[in-house]
């Protein structure tokens, strides 16, 4: 403990200085303002933390700087919004997604077959790629004929504002059901399954060596079969499920939306790692360009589908009550009336923005911490950060752990987006801002340190919110009569300043390793 204190003495001194600075600065504020600003700091910090923690986990184990993390955060928000406000689109998209997953999950089975096929290496490569491309081409062909509202891009990208507005008023527009017209349902389902299975076979053929010792049992069929079943059920009962979701309590819809946002991040992460990142592990520069490029592509796609203008994600019922004893002054009132605000120290505090988000942030912190410290996967991650070869030499499939960590890291980012959106609204540029904050937070806290990510994010959140508050009320400079009002550009600048100061004193960040 003593050596720990000495080792971290510089970090502790910096923290004390920051705390003293905030304390002095806060003296110009009322207690109410301080409380609200601190809570908002925790809120911004929590969201930043989700993105930063994902970034740091990925970088720590895989040495990949995932610059797409900001875009993925944004995608999480848009996916969550879609499930929440446009469940019809979600259910329409669900069928093809499940079918494609079913097709690709067959690749584990194909491995055995592919390893039997004897071909010259060059021929195998060419045939694999032909199969993959043919499969993907067919896939695109079938997919564009699928009845999904999104395919009518011009129309769709105009609509989010209207839908959000109506949902916010408690009125749900129920869009007309889209039906199979350009293609028979049977052909559509079979087409997606077959085309993705062809691609999957191509991939299995390409990676022939990896799956030599696989055994086939019924369990390997379970996942593809369940996915297939799910896809077909979603297609058959499309209308029923959609109207059921439209009628559902918004609280449950919100939970589903968050879960789907996380799952889509996990899926996107796994897909990115296995297809694009994996071939580039020995080429860090290409990786950097790849993640940056993917981020831009993702941004363009989101803009094309949902449009550029900003729109809102109406909060669920649980956080929007106004009647009765609202703003609540005690917990019982709050829970009974689902108040949107509470009175704390005489000030109004928004429940979702300033209380719920920080709580979720802290829960995620604890859950991931336990995962890292107590589970076998966490143990493998901690060991793999230091020495991958030795972990492999113990008989552990490190690649699979890589995929898992990448998926988890991206899942945290999309979770962050979906969590923040009801508070911040949705705009395609939301990701860029947050990525910058998250990177600064990591530089402050230490790039590969998990507690560092939390601490850095909290500091960045607090500084940002204090600067915003000062911009509103002005800060009396000590020993003078001057009242200084920081302009909005100073908000990000102040975090950069903090980063520079910390890095000058501690190049590894506050809790980073000292090597």
């Amino acid at each position: 403990m003593k050596t720990n204190l000495r080792k971290n003495s510089k970090a502790i001194i910096i923290l004390v200085i920051i705390a003293a600075f905030l304390f002095v600065a806060a003296r110009g504020m009322s207690g109410r303002d301080v409380l609200i600003t601190v809570l908002r700091g925790f809120s911004t910090g929590s969201v930043t933390f989700l993105v930063a923690a994902g970034f740091s986990l990925i970088f720590g184990l895989l040495d990949v700087l995932n610059l797409a993390q900001g875009t993925l955060y944004m995608i999480g928000a848009y996916v969550g919004w879609t499930v929440y406000v446009r469940p019809d689109t979600f259910i329409d998209v669900l069928t093809p997604v499940l079918l494609i997953l079913a097709g690709f999950s067959l690749s584990a089975l194909w491995g055995r077959l592919a390893s039997r096929i004897q071909l010259a290496p060059k021929a195998r490569k060419i045939i694999s790629w032909l199969l993959i491309l043919a499969g993907l081409g067919l896939l695109a062909l079938v997919l564009t004929r699928y009845p999904i509202a999104i395919w009518n891009l011009n129309n769709y990208s105009e609509s989010p504002i209207t839908y959000s507005y109506m949902a916010d008023q408690g009125l749900r527009i129920i869009p007309a059901e889209v039906t199979f017209e350009k293609i028979s349902p049977f052909l559509a389902i079979a087409g997606l399954l077959v085309s993705s299975a062809i691609s999957a076979f191509g991939i299995a053929l390409l990676n022939r060596n990896e799956s030599r010792s696989q055994t086939i049992n019924w369990r390997k069929f379970l996942v593809p079969a369940l996915l297939l079943l799910g896809g077909i059920l979603a297609a058959v009962f499309n209308a029923q499920i959609t109207s059921w979701m439209f009628a559902m309590s918004t609280n449950w819809l919100f939970v589903i939306a968050i879960l789907i946002a996380i799952l889509s991040g996990v899926g996107l992460g796994a897909l990115m790692e296995t297809t694009l990142i994996r071939p580039l592990y020995s080429r860090p520069i290409y990786q950097l360009m790849l993640t940056l490029g993917l981020g831009t592509i993702g941004l363009q796609i989101v803009q094309a589908v949902w449009g550029r203008p900003e729109f809102v994600w109406p909060k669920p019922e649980f956080f929007t009550g106004t009647g009765g004893a609202c703003p609540a002054t005690n917990l019982a009132d709050l829970l009974e009336n689902n108040c949107s605000t509470v009175f704390l120290l005489g000030g109004r505090v928004r429940v979702y923005d300033e209380i719920f988000i920080p709580i979720v942030g802290i829960i995620v912190l604890i859950v991931v911490w336990i995962l890292l410290k107590r589970s076998r996967i966490g143990m493998i991650i901690r060991a793999g950060v230091q020495d991958r070869q030795m972990v492999e030499a113990l008989g552990i499939n490190v690649r699979r752990v890589f995929t898992l960590v990448f998926a988890l890291g991206v899942g945290l980012a999309t979770f962050g987006g979906a969590l923040a959106a009801p508070s911040t609204g949705l705009t395609p540029v939301m990701g860029e801002r947050l990525l910058l904050s998250a990177l600064i937070a990591l530089a402050i806290g230490g790039l590969t340190s998990f507690p560092g990510a939390a601490l850095g994010s909290l500091l960045v959140g607090l500084i940002q919110q204090f600067m915003i508050k000062y911009g509103q009320i002005g800060i009396p400079l000590p020993f003078t009569d001057v009242v200084f009002k920081p302009s909005p550009p100073l908000v990000p600048a102040s975090t950069v300043l903090l980063m520079v100061i910390v890095l000058l004193i501690l190049p590894g960040g506050l809790l980073g390793s000292k090597e």
Binding site: E210, M379, I380, D387, Q389, M390, E392, A393, G395, V398
Partner: protein, 234 residues
Amino acid sequence: MSNILEVKNIHSFINQFHILQDVDFVVPEGSITALLGRNGAGKTTTLKSILGLASVREGKVIFEGREVQGMPPFEIAALGIGFVPEHRAIFRDLSVEENLKIAERNKGDLDRKRTFIFDLFPDLKKFLNLRGTDLSGGQQQMLAIARALVADNSLLLIDEPSEGLAPVIIEHMIDAIRQLSEQSTVVLVEQNFLVASKLAKYFVIIEEGKSVASGLMKDLEADKAMIHRYLGAA
């Protein structure tokens, strides 16, 4: 007697570098085989080639009758090969207990092997909750060997276990390796000829990436000229 491992004329690469150029030897089951040779001869690379950590571009590695070259390292290791690398590679951020636990291939491996491991290295029991970094060199070496014993490995590849250890501890290490060789076959890389000659029944000499001699250890001990030629002073 059958051979648990056959290394057949392998050529291995680390990155672009062609490091092994025709290494060829067999390891009979149930004994200790020493890989000898000067510094930089290619002994470590030979062990890595067996495990797939260095890429074998030509030749064959046959473990328990099965060709394993080209398979990913984790699959090769999972067939029952334990690895005790040069410089130990203890996981710093893991406790001693976790360093053992991570080597489990099936749930409960560690609990089954606990008595065996702690009979071999009673000291480890005292350090279970320390972190990997807080151990001395000798303790790290014990932990590295113990880690390779957690799963059921029929072959152990041990790289320079006596490196940097005090003579008393080396004696202890020799006893331990002799004991565990009653359970598994051992391939031992050793710079310290005395240690190798005390333990090994067979030897293989590697020189500039080639295997140049092999046979019974007791014949080598008698052949001072050969020792001098390949291993320098002895």
